[in-house]
């Protein structure tokens, strides 16, 4: 899988566009977007358990905009330390937190303030004290080396301008033997430069 994607625009501009897009999702998940959101989509297209989603605060499941199901990739055990890269409003993070229980730690990292606020509020509402939300992004995780039993991420690495750097950060924070549960999108063919340089396609 190729992990580089040369672009001809300012990476900081892309970062701002991504933040703007997901701030809008956090503020108004029912708004007009060209990607799916919400628990119905998660259950019907991605295989999430509807009963588990019912246990997560509705404001968090409404703002879910992932592209796969990292929770279904493998088991997450009681007491483990989980890092969610780009946790958004916290749906996967809270599902993981329920699995690890009060003896574990679930650290969610997101670059979007409104998403972080929603994730923290939902964790508090659900009584999941093992959840901690941190500001940061996938290319510079605010997490110590080698502490994670599991890293999860859902639809975030594709938004980064340097996939190698983002995957390197995941490798850095995982302990030896730690697991990556990654859901994301991939392309089957080389994208034309005109598509690579379309910031609206990137930010979606």
């Amino acid at each position: 899988m190729a992990t580089s994607c040369p672009i001809d625009f300012d990476a900081e501009q892309l970062r701002r566009e991504v933040a703007r897009m997901y701030e809008a999702v956090a503020r108004d998940p029912a708004g007009e977007f060209h990607f799916h959101r919400g628990p119905g989509y998660a259950a019907e297209l991605l295989g999430y358990d509807p009963a588990e989603l019912e246990a997560i605060p509705a404001a968090t499941t409404a703002a879910f905009a992932g592209v796969g199901n990292p929770i279904a990739v493998g088991p997450i055990a009681e007491g483990e330390l989980v890092v969610d890269v780009g946790c958004g409003a916290g749906m996967d993070l809270l599902l993981a937190a329920r699995r690890i229980g009060p003896a574990g730690r679930a650290i969610g990292v997101d670059m979007t303030a409104a998403m972080r606020e929603q994730a923290a509020a939902s964790a508090a509402r659900a009584g999941l004290d093992q959840v901690e939300i941190r500001a940061g992004d996938a290319q510079s995780l605010p997490v110590d080396d080698g502490i994670a039993d599991v890293v999860i991420s859902n639809g975030v690495i594709n938004l980064t301008t340097d996939k190698t750097e983002a995957l390197g950060e995941i490798h850095r924070v995982l302990r030896p033997g730690g697991r990556l549960h990654l859901a994301d999108i991939v392309v089957a063919s080389e994208l034309p430069q005109s598509v690579r340089d379309d910031i609206d396609l990137w930010a979606s």
């Binding site: 639809g155 302990r175 990654l182 598509v195 979606s204």
Partner: protein
């Protein structure tokens, strides 16, 4: 790689994602050690 999805099914981006073979994937990996 354990599963593929079409997260863009029914969205305004479905046509362009199909054109370039974009799919959602779930991946498991383990750090050696």
């Amino acid at each position: 790689m354990v599963a593929r999805f079409d997260p863009f099914l029914g969205t305004a981006k479905e046509k362009v994602t199909r054109k370039f073979g974009v799919t959602g994937v779930n991946v498991f990996a383990r750090k050696p050690g």
